[in-house]
Amino acid sequence: MERVEIGDVAVAYDDPYTGVTTILIMRNSLLIDSMDHNLLPPFLIGEAALFLDETPKFQSNDATLDNHCIYDEVTGL
């Protein structure tokens, strides 16, 4: 791919349980017009000091709220 723009992006996330709106920041994102979904490497989420668990709850031997989630300890999101 050529001529792909790189930018810092902010999107809003509305917590369906608390209703709190949180602004999510993604630095150095590749802006591709044809995509309407934001893809995020799990490795980068870990590098951002967020807790990440990719195991679906229904596949977990001992399902907890920690499964299949991204958790930010600072904001509690």
Binding site: T22, I23, I25, M26, I45, E47, A49, L50, I70, V74
Partner: protein
């Protein structure tokens, strides 16, 4: 994993400070996905020892600064984990350093943590406990338990590093901020031993232990390394500090050396 997001509206863009902000990626201007930092001894490789076992659990978001020091992390305007890596690229200036030191001095203890029932009991009977504990530490269960825990932790740590002695004194300024799990500053641990007799050189087992490398690597290192002159660093006896270094003067033939050529056949 999928979750729905949306674009920010005008109000959210104008007053974004009023909303919680989460960085989904490292808050850094640059990131090199080809960096060897993640694979080499700085990161992934350092998590396992030569036997393939985990050497220690590392809390993901824990850094040299404690996580509750949000004010400190804000000085760098970066997430805690990413902030440390940035320190290597952007050296800390003196102003930031002094702010950090002032912050540590101003807040040596966390008084915001709620008291447990044990804390309340200990505070209420502090005078009595002090009198009883002054007779013998075993008479105060909590004090005795704490001492046992400390000693057990010290013992495990000493075994892990191969040390029999250590000094737990450290700088008062920074020791107060050392996490509770690391009450024994590892930089003050000294490994020492007493042995008698002449030094027999370095063994593969010794290299394996102090360098934490596989046995095969240690053996291979010794195969390509000569130990012609062996000095015992643990001995202060002058007779053990031999000055005879002729073993490294001459070329070696197999397992011996000589400065005299013996003719075995008539020329």
């Amino acid at each position: 994993m999928y979750f729905a997001t949306r674009a920010l509206n005008d109000e959210e863009m104008a007053n974004w400070e009023n909303y919680p902000v989460v960085n989904l990626t490292p808050n850094s201007d640059n990131w090199d996905p080809h960096s060897l930092h993640f694979a080499d001894a700085d990161a992934e490789a350092s998590m396992m020892d030569c036997n393939g076992d985990i050497v220690g659990q590392r809390k993901r978001d824990q850094t040299i600064f404690e996580e509750e020091e949000a004010e400190v992390s804000e000085l760098y305007s970066k997430p805690l984990e990413a902030g440390v890596s940035e320190l290597y690229a952007e050296p800390c200036d003196w102003e930031t350093f002094h702010q950090l030191v002032d912050y540590i001095q101003d807040d040596p203890y966390d008084f915001t943590a709620p008291l447990t029932d044990d804390d309340v009991t200990m505070l209420a009977g502090d005078g009595i406990r002090a009198q009883v504990a002054s007779i013998s530490s075993v008479l105060d269960p909590s004090y005795f338990t704490a001492m046992l825990d400390d000693q057990a932790m010290i013992s495990k740590l000493a075994m892990a590093v191969g040390s029999t002695t250590f000094d737990d004194t450290a700088c008062d300024v920074f020791e107060a901020r050392v996490p509770a799990k690391a009450k024994v500053p590892i930089w003050d641990i000294n490994a020492s031993a007493i042995s008698a007799g002449r030094s027999h050189g370095v063994t593969a087992d010794h290299l394996l232990k102090i360098w934490r490398i596989p046995f095969d690597d240690a053996a291979r290192t010794l195969e390509v390394t000569t130990q012609g002159v062996k000095q015992n660093p643990d001995s202060s006896l002058s007779r053990n500090a031999s000055t005879n270094d002729r073993a490294v003067w001459y070329r070696w033939v197999s397992k011996f050396f000589t400065d005299t050529l013996f003719a075995t056949k008539w020329a």
